[in-house]
């Protein structure tokens, strides 16, 4: 699929996963890659960028198994950005879906 198109979507996925609860990097990556084909490694640069843009704050927390985890927490700025992106996305996909519905049917006739 078109790379540019998919890339904007990743930012929305990360923000959406953090809306209800804080998560650590690995958890975010696994959640996304279980549903969409991504290069897992590029989620981390994205997380860094969004942290720099003050959409998240991070904190470290010890865990019983393995090393301490870096958790990401959505800020208010991040939350309003998420809602903006979500609305744009929904409008966009709604439009595309309608076009597919109208267009694809006619091919058979």
């Amino acid at each position: 699929m078109n790379v540019q198109f998919k890339k904007g979507a990743l930012e929305l996925c990360v923000l959406a996963l953090l809306d209800k609860k804080d998560r650590y990097g690995y958890e975010l990556v696994q959640n996304i890659s279980s549903k969409i084909a991504i290069s897992e490694g590029s989620v981390y640069p994205l997380l860094r960028r969004l942290t720099k843009e003050e959409y998240f704050t991070t904190y470290l927390q010890e865990s019983q198994e393995g090393p301490s985890r870096k958790y990401y927490q959505l800020t208010e700025k991040g939350r309003s950005h998420l809602y903006e992106l979500r609305d744009e996305w929904q409008q966009f996909t709604k439009g595309v879906n309608e076009i597919i519905k109208e267009g694809v049917g006619y091919d058979k006739g």
Partner: protein, 185 residues
């Protein structure tokens, strides 16, 4: 690729990033490997799904240089940011380099024209010294007027260059947002 090899490659590709920040980035990936291994995945499997360390480094570098250019937009920083963004992919070669060259050419020619206008009385004087017969008042006044216009042009170029720089950095940021994000093609 083993964990050590992956981490080494990434570390080497990020050599221009200051130590503290680089350590932080490497830490994220070490954490990722450790958790994957906890789930019973092999180092090779984990490295494979992470993707190429060089590509990851390119994405880190692009946002690193853009962050830097926002703090201090020296010409060197602007150039490094442009190259880093171009490094993200062939697509950027066209949509970043082409406007950059065009704009840089425009700015440069503005400065050169301004400079040439300002020194035009000097050229007039040289001309008189070499060919004293060719003196005429119209030339003299024209060169003085041109010099004044040159000073105005240089002042204008100064503000225009600042403005263009800001707008172009914004364009680079927009470009990173558009092109980055690492979905598999």
């Amino acid at each position: 690729m083993t964990r050590d090899k992956f981490i080494n490659k990434l570390d080497r590709a990020l050599i221009s990033v200051p130590y503290e920040e680089r350590k932080d980035i490497i830490q994220d990936f070490e954490e990722h490997f450790a958790m994957g291994e906890n789930e019973g995945k092999s180092e090779e499997e984990i490295a494979e799904s992470l993707g190429a360390p060089n590509q990851i480094a390119k994405e880190v570098l692009a946002s690193y240089y853009l962050g830097k250019v926002e703090k201090s937009s020296s010409t060197g920083n602007v150039m490094r940011a442009v190259w880093a963004v171009i490094g993200l992919g062939f697509f950027n070669l066209v949509i970043v380099l082409a406007p950059f060259v065009a704009i840089a050419g425009f700015v440069l020619s503005g400065w050169i024209a301004g400079g040439a206008f300002i020194v035009s009385p000097l050229l007039f004087i040289i001309n008189i010294l070499l060919f004293p017969d060719s003196f005429n008042l119209i030339d003299m006044f024209a060169s003085i007027a041109l010099s004044g216009a040159g000073i105005l042009l240089i002042i204008g170029m100064y503000y225009l260059t600042k403005l263009i720089r800001t707008v172009f950095i914004r364009y680079l940021n927009y470009n990173v947002r558009l092109v980055k994000g690492g979905m598999k093609a």
